[in-house]
């Protein structure tokens, strides 16, 4: 797992490109192999890319507030399409309005995301957690 493969993208009809650009740069510089789908990515596009590249994780961004609607069912769809234990992270301004982060995080964890991040996520922490999670899922590699 020297160069873990991760898929990045901004889900739904969301055009916020800046954070995505920065995540790409950050993870690339930390020697991930980054497959960046950019903005306005559908659930199936995420899954297609993950299958195609054998990715260990999908990092979904949602900034514009429709995250709740856009992300619903992504975990099921992954399983349906054979990605049984791919790591799913989600981050950004996930819901409409200023809501308590704990509640938002709980909501998205219930939806099947392994970890949930706010817009002020410290990327170094994300990096550390992601490596841990990837390691844990592939104990014998």
């Amino acid at each position: 797992m020297n160069h873990p493969v991760i898929v990045l993208g901004v889900i739904g009809a969301d055009c916020h490109a800046v954070g995505n650009r920065i995540l790409d740069m950050y993870f690339s510089s930390r020697s991930y192999h980054v497959v960046n789908l950019g903005v306005m990515v559908s659930q199936d596009e995420f899954i297609d890319a993950a299958i195609e590249t054998g990715a260990q994780a999908i990092l979904v961004s949602s900034l514009y507030g429709h995250g709740e609607i856009d992300c619903a069912g992504l975990r099921d769809r992954c399983i349906e399409r054979g990605l049984d234990d791919i790591i799913l992270y989600v981050g950004g301004n996930l819901v409409i309005g200023k809501q308590r982060f704990e509640e938002v995080a709980a909501k998205f964890r219930t939806m099947g995301f392994d970890r949930v991040f706010g817009p002020d996520a410290d990327l170094a922490v994300v990096d550390r957690l992601l490596r841990q999670d990837i390691k844990r899922r592939q104990p014998c590699s």
Partner: protein, 482 residues
């Protein structure tokens, strides 16, 4: 698909109109004639163009928030509370509608109804249709504008104008590059010719609809020359289709002198290019958008960012200022938070209403630079246009002559790299294919070099990243942390 720069023939227009109206059921409810009659009954204080004109004459800066929620009643209540404190009202449209995904918007409405609060990031005007939109306009006593981010806004414009909205934001470049991924310029320019032609139709009937190209673009380190060029090109395209009331926009960049110079030159250059193109029967006003990049999460710090934008707008005498809210970094604001943003802005704009940025050599220099940059871009644009400005717009984007930093569109060159100088002005680190006189480019390089010396590091992409985060971390210039 070909695009040509001339006023769409009424027949061509009407021919395509039916198809547009059929893209969603509410299109059938659009009644142009009735809309025109309704507009004629709107008193001047509820219509954008006359209110902007009066503010311009008095030299005051009007306040306009952003606001939109999923359900009609909820949206009306929101606007009724906001209009207590602001001068101009918005109706911000949700992001599904912006992508013409009316079915998803319908789902959003449904889920919002069930949840009892809005799950959409705006008001789905097309789904609600003309009658419901009319209710919105009827329920308030100030002018209302449709604000969105829609590459193909034809149906939205049909619905909104027939309903009685008196202003419509956007343009074929400014609502494409920052808001879309795969929409070719040919398409968005053509679709915006349609919108402008529709506005022109109203104009022919004596009904003036205000049009506002979207100034801030990606809201992220956009050099004034880029947003000015887009504003002027979109203005020319709109005038050609018969638009007569135009508000040119600009997103606060952060250096006060540069921001004031930007608003001044925007007005000046707008007039120059419009008149040179043979137009003289139009009205031009300006808008400054308070800081459009990432905000600090702390609400007190956000309040300071808001006041700072109000200060820039007042010193520059922008005709209106679009306000942000203390919730900006977190999410769609509550009504209370939105009101706070307006109140902060009102206080600072009013306190500064009698003051101006002093005439000063550095301001002159800044204005001179913007003028020369814009003129160089416009010259290249006219050369590419070769007589057809619509084609020119498409080619200018294609050639990277117009290049918007951080825009998600696949059709944007993305070669231009901006970063701040030592005083926080936005300069050009890499000009990509944007044409610039050598001495002007050297000016940018020198300024960035001065910053590099202060920071004891080389100019480069790390500066850009640091600048993207800077305001949210409490500074304007992204200095390396010690």
């Amino acid at each position: 698909m070909t695009v040509e720069h001339h006023r769409l023939e009424l027949e061509t227009f009407l021919a395509s109109r039916q198809a547009v109206l059929e893209t969603w059921p509410t299109g059938a409810d659009v009644d142009l004639e009735e809309g025109i009659r309704y507009h004629r009954s709107i008193p001047p204080h509820k219509s954008f163009a006359p209110v902007m004109r009066a503010a311009d004459a008095r030299g005051v800066t009007l306040l306009q928030p952003r606001a939109g929620v999923a359900l009609v009643d909820e949206h009306i209540r929101l606007l009724q509370q906001l209009e207590q404190e602001c001068d101009l009202l918005p109706t911000t449209v949700d992001a599904y509608t912006r992508q013409n995904r009316y079915d998803q918007a319908a789902q959003g409405v449904e889920k919002s109804r069930r949840a009892g609060h809005s799950l959409l990031n705006g008001f789905p005007a097309v789904n609600h249709g003309p009658a419901a939109c009319r209710q919105v306009v009827d329920s308030v006593s100030k002018p209302v504008q449709i604000r969105h981010g829609t590459p193909d806004a034809r149906l939205l414009a049909e619905v909104a104008l027939a309903a009685g909205f008196t202003a419509f934001e956007g343009g074929g470049i400014s609502y494409n590059l920052p808001y879309a991924k795969k929409v070719p310029l040919e398409r968005s320019i053509r679709h915006w010719q349609y919108v402008d032609r529709l506005v022109g139709l109203y104009q022919e009937e004596g009904v003036t609809i205000n049009r506002e190209p979207f100034g801030p673009l990606s809201g992220t380190l956009v050099p004034p020359c880029i947003s000015h060029a887009v504003a002027i090109v979109e203005g020319l395209l709109a005038l050609e289709q018969g638009v007569r009331s135009i508000t040119l926009g600009y997103g606060q960049a952060g250096n006060l002198v540069q921001d004031v110079a930007a608003i001044h030159t925007l007005r000046e250059l707008g007039h120059r290019y419009f008149r040179d193109a043979g137009f003289d029967d139009y009205e031009l006003t300006t808008v400054l958008h308070q800081w459009m990049g990432g905000f600090p999460g702390n609400e007190s710090k956000a309040a300071a960012v808001i006041a700072w934008g109000g200060m820039a707008a007042a010193l520059a005498r922008a005709t209106k200022v679009i306000t942000k809210t203390p919730h900006e970094a977190a999410g769609i604001p509550t009504t209370a938070s939105n009101l706070q943003g307006i109140q902060i802005t009102a206080q600072i704009v009013n306190m500064m209403a009698d003051q101006t940025m002093p005439a000063a050599p550095v301001r002159d220099l800044e204005e001179q630079m913007i003028r020369r940059e814009v003129d160089t871009i416009m010259k290249a644009f006219f050369a590419l246009a070769d007589g057809d400005l619509a084609t020119g717009a498409i080619r200018a984007v294609e050639a990277g002559v117009i290049d918007v930093p951080f825009a998600p569109s696949a059709f944007n060159a993305g070669k231009l790299l901006p970063c701040r100088d030592d005083e926080g002005a936005v300069r050009i680190l890499d000009r990509g294919q944007v044409p610039m006189d050598e001495d002007v480019f050297r000016f940018h390089q020198d300024r960035i070099a001065a910053r590099a010396r202060t920071e004891r590091r080389d100019p480069g992409f790390q500066m850009v990243i640091d600048d993207v985060y800077a305001i949210s971390k409490g500074r304007l210039v992204g200095r390396p942390t010690a």
